[in-house]
Symmetry: C2
Subunit: 326 residues, 2 copies
């Protein structure tokens, strides 16, 4: 039987992969050690994924390994921090080799794409639960804070929105007209394997061309709401300008509006920036091959005003996802 | 109904408690920010506690808040790092106000004792699971590594061992002669509210008077075994010299030997140090009112030899706790 020690050694401790600086000591002691790059701050974020809540029971472990790290990297991206490493705490019903192989493959494929190391953590028996804490670095004063939006700022969105929510609706049989199998599969890629917008976030912070940012995990309207509240400003959002995912774009207007504005699980960046930054933002986004779209304006007047393509008010009656009230 | 946002604001975000440096930004944005003290390394450790595995279902939430943070601080202590902050990821079956009040009280009482801040985390619905990641600081080269024991070193133990295991045996009705109620309660204090040996660990590291260290969570023999393996050394351990907890000390020899040598849940430090450090170690321990006891010797010959008070070999047939094979 696979012991906790063997499990860690076999699946998570990669002895021939030296952890890149600033990691000074990785897995295997009471603590990991980071030697912070002089002059930089450390950015830290934790996310916990629970079976049946954040993913279906029986979810493919390789996709799960990817997603668990991706949603954490997305938080670093939203702050504009460059990832350096992460810890993993894992509760598992049993030490299943096939599951562990798949999970660690998905996890390390994404970690390797960003050249970051798993530096420590914990494994235990229990209902499936994945808790990752990520570490990144950035220059003091460069963080993209939620409280930094200013009246007159443009509101920007990276990539596209809503396909993850559309896939979920498909799985839940919530759609009046079900998707064909190919469309369901294509939309589900966005749900299962989100791509954190790390390069874009880092460029926005390093070039000082954006003010506030947040990653869209619970739906744009709710997440943008955090920026508005913290920044003590309001906004007008052009709902028809929201970039819909490739599959959602083929659906009717009501569904497109609902899922782009309040879908959730998008892991795109919503950021605000002065009008003077427009050209620099388009250049930065192009340099990392990440589409960006202007979708509204920050205003001094409190509240979020939704409008359609003609500027007419829209009342979508949407709400953001909350873990304890839904 | 309590939303996730309200829950965090009400129980975990202490607006009038400014986080002490080096924390630069606490709860409320995509990431927390630490401005590392120049010249110091950051030590990081994560522990996950699962209901029914690390604590009984229905455990008192205040004690649980204490213990969840204490076991993490114990990892910093074993490295010799000074704590600076922590993140908390929490899965809860429901947003129960009484539970949250108790849990956060226990958590913050211990955090305040060490003047450290909760800087971020996550809350979600799910089977009760508590994942804390702690951060500390220390000078490069001062960490008490598991691989640093040398032949000729003394083996030391802080505090006393075995009362936590004795309390568990009492709860599980494993004892031939049950404890009286007062003894069960006294032993249970060690099980429910361990005190991390942070001050001692920091002094040992800062004064450079110890070589290797580990905290005793899975039982002394197993945890000392990690030091021996990593350091490529062996040891002789005087089992009768192991300092038994106050209640365990009143029990018979077999129970005392078993629970001091391989009890678990002690959260004391086991460290090795050269003979020349003896006076300095006793002085350091006295300065932080932490008893320490010499219990054996590191030797070049591989393997762990258990002996009794007369130096005669003991075969205790003990094993350390493992989460996936037990």
């Amino acid at each position: 039987m696979l012991s906790e020690f063997d499990l860690i050694q076999e699946y998570f401790q990669r002895l021939h992969h030296a952890a890149p600086p600033p990691v000074a000591l990785g897995i295997g002691d009471d603590c990991a050690l980071i030697a912070p790059t002089p002059g930089l701050q450390t950015a830290i974020s934790s996310d916990m994924l629970v079976e049946g809540r954040h993913f279906f029971a029986g979810e493919d472990p390789q996709r799960l390994g990817h997603k668990a790290l991706a949603v954490n990297l997305s938080d670093l991206a939203a702050m504009g921090a460059r990832p350096v490493g992460f810890t993993l705490a894992l509760a598992l019903p049993s030490a299943d080799r096939a599951w562990l192989h798949g999970f660690s493959s998905g996890l390390f494929a994404l970690a390797d794409a960003f050249n970051i190391a798993l530096i420590g953590g914990d494994t235990t028996k229990g209902p499936l639960n994945i808790c990752i804490t990520v570490f990144g670095e950035l220059r003091p004063g460069q963080a993209l804070r939620r409280n930094a939006a200013r009246a007159g700022d443009d509101i920007w969105i990276s990539g596209t929105l809503g396909d993850a929510r559309l896939a979920l609706a498909g799985y839940r049989l919530e759609l009046k007209e079900p998707l064909d199998a190919a469309s369901q599969r294509a939309a589900a890629v966005r749900m299962h394997t989100p791509v954190p917008r790390v390069e874009l976030g880092v460029l926005l912070a390093e070039q000082g061309i954006a003010h506030a940012a947040i990653d869209i995990s619970d739906g744009l309207i709710g997440d943008l709401g955090h920026i508005l509240k913290r920044s003590q400003v309001g906004a007008t959002l052009d709902v028809d300008a929201l970039p819909a995912g490739a599959i959602l774009a083929t659906q009717d207007t009501a569904l497109r509006r609902a899922y782009t504005a309040a879908g959730g699980d998008d892991y795109e960046l919503c950021f605000t920036a002065p009008v003077a930054s427009r050209a620099a933002i388009l250049a930065a986004a192009a340099s990392v091959a990440t589409p960006v779209t202007r979708v509204g304006r920050i205003e001094a007047q409190a509240g979020l005003r939704l409008v359609d393509a003609d500027g007419a008010p829209l009342d979508l009656q949407l709400s953001s996802f909350d873990h304890f009230t839904s």
